[in-house]
Symmetry: C2
Subunit: 204 residues, 2 copies
DNA sequence: GTCTATATTTCGATAGAC
DNA sequence: GTCTATCGAAATATAGAC
């Protein structure tokens, strides 16, 4: 193979590694303090570099949060693609299985999830300021449309909203259950989710 | 009765009325944009006064949020006093009834609730900076201790966390259920909450 | 009680050396 | 790729007139 004559440093090299570390520290701080209360100075200090260095890797503070949003979407992309083309009724039918997937993903990417959940306002502000965050296939937008669809019985929709709330609250509480392994909590969360979606009147 | 010779303007007069309006506008804007993204200039403009006027009524921006926090506590005080002296096991027993109260209060003070829920980080930051927000009888702290109590079976604790998450998510979703009256949503929320707390193995 | 005007601080972002 | 130095904007907060 010919030697690498590319002037740019190879991707997946030292540079991208620093980029990763920036994102890691950002997730930490955004979760501890929130996005708005976290300054670039804090991120830089915890990382042991200067603010200006951050600007080499990201063109703005918003871009850091936006990148974290994209990563969450990447995590849920497989699940999202399964829904492509399905109408709302079909999504309702698939809901119990979707909740299991949600629990699994939430457990494996807890911090990333929480950052996105706790900074919804900031993300939606960017979107309104012209920045498109996927537009049509945004997962949250689709969920909102689902809850508004009058073709689905109200109780079904309420229980969908409640099931997500129950799961997120349970896994966000996470380590307050001092004892308890992650697997224990996940198993119990699945049980709760099942009880929420299975409404009275459903066939057993 | 002798004429009022007090130099200060009477309480519950024009002054407190403006104070109320400030809090009302603050709740609106904090819910629309979040606490950190809302500037005092915006509050003043929507109110038709200047920033300086706000500082006559509140000594800082934090104080506005803190006041809203105190109001929420005032709303839930009756419910909280019922729990005084009860040990954790007794609270668990009272949980189903507490959830009904939560639903009722949440529905009657939706905006106030949401501001406090969405700005938890900011409030807890103030508390750590020396400002005491009740210390011992803070409702959220008590809830956290309850979830950590190993004397309560894990599944019970998980279901308590999940029930609150389900209720809050349902009522926060609120108007996305385009049709549906508040009463409908409240009734369905009670049903869901009941299904969450009543775990398998409980006597019917 | 509300105003105008301004002080003070902090933050995001850029320029240019190394 | 990271640094020093700094800019400009915006925010909180204060001083003092009315």
């Amino acid at each position: 193979m010919a030697p690498n004559t590319d002037q740019r440093p190879r991707p997946e090299r030292r540079g991208d590694e620093t980029r990763e570390r920036i994102l890691d520290v950002a997730v930490e701080l955004f979760n501890e303090q929130g996005y708005e209360r976290t300054s670039l100075r804090q991120i830089a200090e915890r990382l042991g570099v200067t603010k200006a260095a951050l600007y080499y890797h990201f063109k703005s503070k918003e871009d850091i949060l936006l990148e974290l949003h994209l990563r969450l979407h990447a995590v849920g992309r497989d699940a999202l693609e399964q829904l492509e083309g399905l109408d709302d009724e079909a999504v309702v039918a698939a809901w119990p299985s979707l909740l299991d997937t949600l629990i699994e993903l939430l457990l494996a990417n807890r911090d990333l999830f929480l950052v996105n959940q706790r900074n919804r306002k900031a993300l939606q502000a960017f979107a309104e300021d012209g920045r498109h965050v996927d537009a049509g296939q945004d997962i949250e937008a689709r969920f909102g449309r689902l809850l508004a669809d009058p073709k689905i019985p109200l109780e079904r929709r309420v229980r969908m909203a409640a099931s997500v709330g129950a799961v997120v609250a349970t896994l966000a509480a996470g380590e307050v259950f001092g004892d308890a392994t992650a697997d224990d909590v996940a198993r119990l969360a699945r049980g709760v989710a099942r009880d929420v979606v299975r409404q009275p009147g459903d066939a057993l």
